[in-house]
Symmetry: C2
Subunit: 212 residues, 2 copies
DNA sequence: CCGCGCATGTGAAATTTTTAACATGAGCTG
DNA sequence: CAGCTCATGTTAAAAATTTCACATGCGCGG
């Protein structure tokens, strides 16, 4: 386990490995080889061993990987072996859907506070969380130990939301708004935008058509 | 403009360029240099010129890129300068949200049909679309010129949904189910799963912490 | 209408990432 | 307990991608 720069692509694949491993675990499989796992994830088996090697030695030679153990190890490596407190800015349709989405807490991300600047929304209670005025964010985020910010505002207000969140002390942002954000270099931002996948599928369909 | 294999990463970036360019257009900006665009997208300016070069020459030397024109060119390159008819399988919470989601048609993807295997859901009408039994898919997809399949079933039924869609003749799939799919090599699949972004942000936050 | 400035498009260099190859070590068998 | 099998962990090679550097060519000003 050497401390080297870890490729962004590796992080993405680790998430896939976890997904596939959890699916295997549901099927009561206990051990898997890098070769088998590779097939299920549509990647090369060396790739898997390489990716895992960034974080340690998790397998048993001649045997493979114990699935439960590997899931735990990957989650620890990614830092998702604990709960992350989150704050959400922008309580529109999307924001409300996120607050109600069961899979988010299931993955260890708990929305502890929600903010908006629309007076009509302030005071609403969704899933036990009261929507607060954005001006209170600086007081609330530290007191609730919030480390991650979710942005679900319209694109034109995303930057403002980001500024508020960072000012309030969040350490990373996941934004669902279709807008790029300018943030300090030490604040990671993840852009969630499934329209990119729509574009991609259209492109690859055309590409297949041109092959044939 | 040479016909070379186009990196997957390039496709992802093109989608980002479109997003940023459309934002600039909203601000009435008419021309942009690769350098300016690069900054807004947090990439290298050579990268942008390289990415665009796969598809043609869209800029004017000494001037830059005409934004409206570039948007059109990129969209044509990606194949999103037209409408794509889609069919959705799995009308649970997520499926219904997708059917109501305005941004999907806005991007040129129109859901023309919806399928489920739960009798309680068959017959429901959502956004003018009647939910049909999955057994009818093979008749409906060709008759409505559907080319793209959306999967929003639980993970354990995603593969079955994919099989039905492909059998019915869709050319590509966008799946929202947290499961990997086995499909013929000529059918592109895009996996939409924002939990990957949650994992990523957690990892990068930890990484920042270890730096300091 | 010539020359200058500027930003593109591109070929080559540098870097990163992926794939292949193999030595290592765990576990099983006789 | 020696030897054999198998799959990992790792080193080296190959491939792909990103970045650099600059020649090309458009537009403007004198």
């Amino acid at each position: 386990m050497k401390s080297k720069r870890i490729p962004k692509a590796t992080i993405g694949r680790l998430a896939v490995y976890v997904q596939v491993l959890e699916s295997l675990r549901r099927d009561r499989v206990e051990v898997v080889s890098s070769e088998k796992l590779a097939q299920a994830c549509s990647v090369n088996s060396s790739q898997i061993r390489k990716d895992l090697a960034y974080f340690g030695e998790f397998g048993v030679r001649g045997v493979g990987y114990y699935i439960q153990e590997l899931i735990t190890s990957i989650k620890r490596s990614l830092g998702i072996d604990r709960v992350w407190n989150c704050a959400l800015v922008g309580v529109g349709n999307l924001g409300r859907a996120l607050m109600k989405h069961r899979d988010i807490p299931r993955k260890g991300f708990v929305i502890k506070a929600a903010f908006d600047c629309d007076p009509d929304r302030i005071g609403l209670v969704i899933k036990g969380i009261e929507v607060m005025c954005l001006s209170r964010i600086k007081e609330v985020v530290p007191s609730l130990d919030v480390e991650v910010g979710f942005i679900s505002t319209p694109p034109e207000r995303a930057q403002r939301a980001a500024n508020f969140l960072i000012e309030a002390g969040v350490r990373g942002i996941v934004t669902f708004a279709p807008a790029r954000l300018e943030v300090p270099a030490n604040i990671p931002v993840e852009y969630v935008d499934f329209s990119h996948h729509l574009y991609a599928v259209a492109f690859y369909i055309n590409q297949e058509a041109n092959k044939a």
